[in-house]
Symmetry: C2
Subunit: 307 residues, 2 copies
Amino acid sequence: MSLLTVGTMAYDALETPFGKTDRILGGAATYIALSASYHVEKSNIVSVVGADFKQEHLDLLKSKGVDLEGVQIIPDGKTFFWKGRYHLDMNTRDTVDTQLNVLEHFNPIVPDSFKDCEYLMLGNLMPSIQQQVLDQLPKRPKLVVLDTMNFWMDHFWDDLMVALKGVDVLTINDEEARQMSEEYSLLKAAKKIMTMGPKYLIIKKGEHGALLFHEDKVFSAPALPLEEVFDPTGAGDTFAGGFIGYLAKTCDISFENMKRAVIWGSTMASFTVEKFGTERVADLTTAEINARLEMFKDLVSVDIQLA
Amino acid sequence: MSLLTVGTMAYDALETPFGKTDRILGGAATYIALSASYHVEKSNIVSVVGADFKQEHLDLLKSKGVDLEGVQIIPDGKTFFWKGRYHLDMNTRDTVDTQLNVLEHFNPIVPDSFKDCEYLMLGNLMPSIQQQVLDQLPKRPKLVVLDTMNFWMDHFWDDLMVALKGVDVLTINDEEARQMSEEYSLLKAAKKIMTMGPKYLIIKKGEHGALLFHEDKVFSAPALPLEEVFDPTGAGDTFAGGFIGYLAKTCDISFENMKRAVIWGSTMASFTVEKFGTERVADLTTAEINARLEMFKDLVSVDIQLA
């Protein structure tokens, strides 16, 4: 059940219709590991930060059972920085500033003690870096999940296609699924994308939930209707962490269990958007999580009668 | 279980990325009655058409058990006509032409034999006409469902607010729910709208399914992922017909049964969009419907485990 996550650790500056932040903790690996920590007592990260990365943030991750041996700290480097502004609908955002910093020359190194990983989460990153991590593992993990985005499709399509060959589950949003497949129907898009490598596809639709595809099967999970979406940053990564964390804990990668894992991912994501950054997902109780899982039960339960 | 539908009977000319039609059968009452006919052996319509309305279309409805005594045929009038063009994404459309014709002076008259109706479907129409129908019933029906759209919100807000006072269930789409409530969050929107009269609210989200709200309860029904959406015209009316038809047949207006009715509505709508106009919903077998209900079962079934 060992879980390895590769992805960014970052500082974000965010602006939403509800407020703005200065540099706060962010990054795909951060959200994934925090979200997964509610399932797995220990997990491992491969990432890179600069000398400016705060000890308190390293300590936060450690306190959640995250082993940071694979996190390179570049003494004369600065941590990856992203500044974004969300529009009123919270579904669209503009990148105001991106400073790759230490990410620019990131050469991921998987420590020996991480190499027996059974669950591998390739967080949103340059596809060739995701590939490098997979290549360093002597034994193929039981499950490889890859998250990506339109930027890599636009600029690193060939690398992405290579990386996808080694992947079990791909997670992207609906716009990206359409871009990737050149199909408008998500059903057609999914069928096409599943010929590119991944045997499972999760299409994230924000406030409209998520779809899980495998062969001819489809599962639709709603998103929890929320009074307020305060900051969507990290929702997709939190989803991924809840998803793979649940699978790692239960050691069951059947389609039925993946459906449950999707609900777990959605549940965790519903917390993240309630406050800025990682604040909410870093500090949840089992009671809070269970209350929300109960809400999901009510939201989807129906006893369908045939004619 | 008697069902009365008031709404338009129309001719539509449609243009989609997949083709175009000349004047074909349309109208809210038409779609609603056809869709409901798979539940109720008999139903009644109050509507108006011109002398150009074809006998074959009256015969089609009669063959589905629809009593047309309440359909006024204006000898020197022409049937309501709508011409629309859908964009590539099928979610947005332009009205190319609207000819109100006989609708302009429509004064609905509920025949005595219809007045004991228990289920009343107020199809998308001018709110004052919807109100006139309700006013003619000596006894309040067991359930009143009203469908409306942004046009009436823009131009007949006060009339709509009056009509809503007498309604149990309101069906609108997500954009309209936001417009009506001036709230972006659909949860907040629903809470506000349910203070305007309806105790139940259905928010239709097209390819993203539908949400059913009542008091603090929410149910989320997905839409069936389809390979092709050929023509979305009438999908909302077909949904409404499947919804109220199921409730009328089962004589059960509990929230649990409304959830099943929403699935029925979605199932019926998934057929309508497969071909132009009413072609598909006018000609379904029980086996076809059951096969699709089974697909819905697979789509939503999940056994959620708490932490």
